[in-house]
Symmetry: C2
Subunit: 212 residues, 2 copies
């Protein structure tokens, strides 16, 4: 009567596929719940494998988290750079660019991951993940649109400020604003993003702020 429980069918992936699947699941949990959300059992369950398999592929939980972070940072840099190079210099383009970047930071989870990296001190080793290259690209574009020569610092700081605005709005916007928890004030958020886009564009077009 009691049918001998047959062991569940064991699917076998390539090491590459398995690693990717595990990374995907772990990353999802990282975005949703933070690094403490990456529990081997849970990640394994998400993928449909047993937790020792995760250990088998990554050696330890710590190295798994490192791998997730590394992949994410790489993706983030790529996406941001891609969005930047394809942007125009008029107001409509600037606003659209900010919306795209904000979506990546907010919905895409980049902001949360960045915050986790910072808070846990889990900085991916020697990755050129700075805004400097982005600022250089931006500065070059800015110079072509103007006769006078604003300082690079001014461009760099503006890019930094814009990044902090998007990052901050994505992470603590509702909190700083005091939005009700269930219904973050998306309308105000959007107005803020647009206002910021215009401010930045305006600053780029107008003279630089006194840097000294």
């Amino acid at each position: 009567m009691a049918k001998a429980r047959k062991p569940p069918p064991r699917t076998r992936r390539t090491a590459e596929d398995a690693r990717t699947a595990i990374l995907d699941a772990a990353e999802q949990r990282l975005v949703d719940a933070g690094p403490s959300g990456i529990r081997l059992q849970d990640v394994a369950a998400d993928v449909g494998i047993s937790h020792p398999t995760v250990l088998h592929h990554f050696g330890s939980r710590d190295r798994l988290v490192d791998a997730v972070v590394k992949r994410r940072v790489h993706l983030m840099n790529q996406e941001v750079l891609l969005a930047l190079v394809g942007a125009g210099a008029d107001e409509r383009s600037a606003v659209a660019l900010f919306e795209r970047l904000y979506a990546m930071f907010s919905t895409g989870g980049h902001a949360r991951v960045a915050a986790f990296i910072a808070l846990e001190g889990r900085v991916p080793g020697a990755d050129p993940n700075s805004l400097l290259p982005l600022a250089e690209v931006t500065h070059k574009a800015r110079l072509t649109h103007r006769e006078d020569q604003p300082s690079f610092d001014d461009t760099y700081f503006t890019v930094l400020l814009a990044a902090f605005a998007l990052f901050g709005e994505a992470i603590v916007g509702p909190i700083f604003r005091g939005d009700p928890e269930g219904a973050p004030d998306e309308a105000t958020s959007k107005r803020f993003r647009e206002w910021t886009a215009r401010l930045v564009l305006d600053h780029f077009k107008r003279g630089g702020t006194p840097t000294e």
Copy 2:
């Protein structure tokens, strides 16, 4: 020979004092290592008591964390407001104000705590912890210095932007900037803060950015 180990002297505090001491220790751990750093055993050890005592006073770990967060948010609001009302409208004052606020966010740990609150979704219930009151104070001050009437939105968003700049710089500044981990680039950070202070002040004095 083996002296009977005498039980360590048991000091007895008022419930109030005990709660405060526990909150202090837990808060320190929250700032240093995040919410997951609040472990009952550790907190108890810091205070010099046993961990069931912590449970006795707070009921559960979760409620302890809530209490810590609540107290912190209250403190943060108070401190920021206090710094704001005592600030002048000239450039020197603006820069000084930004430095004070940055110190609170960075060294003081406000930024980290705010980030943890956001990431863990541990929003203190219905606390008027928004920037709105601050923006209102600022707007009122701004109006006295100008003839035309900039929109409140413009002031509000500027305050938000400034807050995000300080928050972002404190949390992810070194990461976004790509500073070497051991030696965050304090010089650049300071220049950025000063640049931001001037930008904000300049924006307040000059016309508002097109809000539509």
